[in-house]
Amino acid sequence: MYNILIGGAAGQGIETTAAILEKLLKKSGYHVFTVRDFMSRVRGGHNFTLIRFGTENIQSHSYKLDGMIALNNETVEIHKDQLQDNGFILCDSKLTATDPKMIKIDMEAMAQVIGNPRVAGSIAVGAVLRLFGESTDYFEEVLRTFVKESVFDINVTAMQKGYNAVEPRFLRQEGDAADSMILSGSKAMSLGTIAAGLRFYSAYPMSPSTTLMELLAEQGEAAGIVVEQAEDEIAAINMAIGASFAGARAMTGTSGGGFSLMVEALGLSGMAEIPLVVVDVQRPGPVTGLPTRTEQSDLAFVISASQGEFPRMVIAIRHHEDAFYQTVRAFDLAERYQIPVILLSDQYLGDASATVRPFDVSRISVAEPAAAHEGEGIYLRYKYTADGVSPRLIPGKSSNFVSADSDEHDENGKITESADVRVHMMDKRMKKLEKLSMELQEPEFIGPQRYETLLLGWGSTYGPIAEAIKILNEKMPGKYAALIFGDIFPLPTKLLIAKAASAARLINVEQNATGQLAGLIREKTCLFCTSSILKYDGRQISGEEIADRLMKEVRT
C-alpha cells in the first residue's frame, strides 16, 4: 500500500490534481482512498489531500507518507517528518526548502514553454505516476473528463513531460479495482437519493453539507428533482415536509448548526406522520466550531432533538456503500413508518473518496404512499391500526380529504383536547417503534470469534477501526474485535449484548469529547465501557492512531 500527500495553499489546484491522480491510479487497478484536509478559506492557508492506494480495499487514511507533491515550502516543513525512508518530495525548482528527499523539477518553466502555467499540476501527476512504475495508458482518457477541450492537448503534453522527467522508484502493484467507481461519500449519497426517487430537496448552504446540495442541483433536471435553496434552515425543513405531505419524496440536509434550527419541524414530521429524510453532515461544534473539519458529536443531540416524544430513526453512515444503500433505505423507512429518518454523515466521509463496486440498482426498493382509500366509511388519515401506521393518501389524488396537524388531533386529523384521544394517538405513534425495532440492522462485527477487547464505534470511524483491528491482531493475534453501528437509534442491542458477554473489556472509539455512543449503550443496555478512545481536534482518527493509543492509553 502506498500513500502520497498533495499540499499547498487554497487556490493552488490541489483538488483537481488529486482528482486526476486518484482516477489514474484507480484505472490502473488500485483501490484508492482519498481524504481532504482543508481550512475554512478560499485562498491561502495550508490545505492537503492524502491519497492512499493499494491492492486491497482501503477505508482509512494514514499519515505515513511514501511521497508528496509540495506546492509550497510550508508543505515541506509541515509534512517532511511523515515520509518513509525512501519517500520523495516532488516540487518545483523554485521552492527554497531543502531536503535530501526532494525531487525538484522546473515545472513552472516547463509549463510556460508548453504554453499555460496552469498545466504544472499535470506535470506533477505525470511524474508521480512514473515514480510508482505506472504506464501512460490512461492519460488521455482520464484527462478528457477533467479538462476542457481547448487545453486538453497541452495537458497531455505536460503529463508526458512530467513522466519523462523522473525514474521509477516503487514497484507497481496489481489491483483489481479498475472496474470499480471512485466517488466521494456525498456523491454516493446523492446517487442514493436519485435511486430512491427523491423529488424535492431544500437546504440552506452550510459546510460540509453544501456539496450534497450542489451535486443534486447538477443532476436535478435529468433526475426530476427540484433543488431549492431556502431562505433559512427552518424554511428548508418545513418546505421538505410540505412537499412530502403533497406527495413528492423530500429531503433536507444541513450540518449541526442548521439542524439546531430545524428541530421544531422535526417534531412536526413525527406528530403529523409525514415521511421525511434529514441529512446531518456533522462538523465540530458547538455553534460555528470548525466549519470545514470533522466530528461525531451530534448523536446525542439528534436522537433527542425537538420537544415531546415521537418515533424517529437515526442511521449513521459508515462508508461509501452505506452512503448509497442506507440513503435509499432511509426513504423506504420514512415512507413505511411515516416518521423522520435522520442520516448522520460527517465531513470526513462526505468529502473522502474511495473505490467502490458499482451500485446495484436492482436492489432498490422504496415504498409508496397508499393509492386509494380502502375499507368502509370516510377516510381517516390517522386511523388507529394494529401497528400504528395509517394508510397515507396524497391530497388531490382521490376524493378524500387529507389533513395534517401539529396540534394533537383525532383520527380525522382535527384538533382535540380529549384525554382519551391524546393517549390513543401517543400510543399509536409510539407503537411504530415496535415494528421498526424488528427490522433494525445489527452493528457489523469485525475480528476473530475469540477476543478479549471489544471496540465499539459508529459511523465514519468504521474504516479506521477496521484497520486498527487488523494492525492489533497482527501484533497480538486473537485479542481484538469490534462492533460498528450503522443503525444507531433505536439502538440495536442483540448482537451487542451477545458479543459483550465474551469480552473482557469494552472500549468505545468516538470522534467526540464525551463518548456519546458509550452513553447511549449504558442507557439502553446497562453495559459500561471500561475505557474510551476519544478525539475531538477536528481531524479524523486513523487506524494507526487507534492502535497506538490503545497500546499507550489502555491498560489491558
Binding site: A248, A250, P358, F401
Partner: protein
Amino acid sequence: MSKTSFTTYEPAWCPGCGNFGILECLKTALEELGRDPYEVLMVAGIGQAAKTPQYISANSFCGLHGRGLPAAVAAKIANVNLTVIAETGEGDSYGEGGNHFIHNIRRNVDITHFVHDNQIYGLTKGQASPTSIEGLVTPVQTTGNINTPFNPPLMAIASGAGFVARGFSGNKAHLISIMKQAIEFNGYALVDILQPCVSFNKINTYAYYSKRVYEIDSTYDPANKLAAFEKALEFGDRIPIGVIYREPKPTFHEKNTVLKSGEPLLDRKTNLDLVAKICDELK
C-alpha cells in the same frame, strides 16, 4: 357531500370574531370559482386565524407557527394541480414568519396568501402584533407599543409581489371579489384582511374600521407601481381596500427548469438509468 360544498365544522372562535366573516367569504369565493374541494389545500401556521383550515371541507395542513408559507409553496411545487391557500394571522405571517414572507414573494409560487390582520395577538390573549398601532397598551406593552407598525402591502410591493390587496371582514361582497381575483391570479397573491378582534383589541374595532375603509374605485390603475406605493402608504383616517397592485409575472413553475414541462412533480418516475449511467462515468 356535493362536489362544490365547503361545509364547515363548528368554529371555536369568540362570538362576533371577524374570522367568521372571512371564512364565509372564502367558502363563497371557492364555490363561485367552482373549485373542487378535494383539489384545495388549506395551509396554516398557528393562531386563531390559523384554525381556518379546521373549519372548511378541504385538504388541510396546520403546521408550525410562522412556517405556513414554506409548507404551502412546497406543496404547490410538489403538485401544481392543487389550489393552495395559505390562510393565517399577521403574527404568523409577518412576525414569526417574516423571513418566509419576504422570500416567498421573491419565489413567486402560484399560491394565495390570506392574512387575517386584527392588529393584535388573539391566541395568546392580547399582546402587540407586527401591525399593532403605536401606543397600544397590552399586558406586555404596558406603557403602550413603541414599535412602528409593519405595512404589509407596502412591503409586499417593494419585495416584488405580483398581486397585493387589502380587504375588510366587514365588507363581504367586496372581500369575496378580491379573494376570487387573488385565487385566480397566476403567482403569489397577498390579501391583507383587516378584521376586528372583539376580545382583545378595543381600539381597532368594527366601528373603527367601518368609519375608515373605502373601496378603491375603478379609476385607479393597479398596474402603476408608484401609485400603488402611495396607495399602500395610506393607512390612517382613511384606509383603502381593494386591489392595490397587480403585475403579471412569470411564476416559479414557469421559470424552474425541472417544473417548466408542466408535469406535476409528484408524478415523475424515478430515473434508475441515470444512476447506472453516472455509476458508469465514475469508473
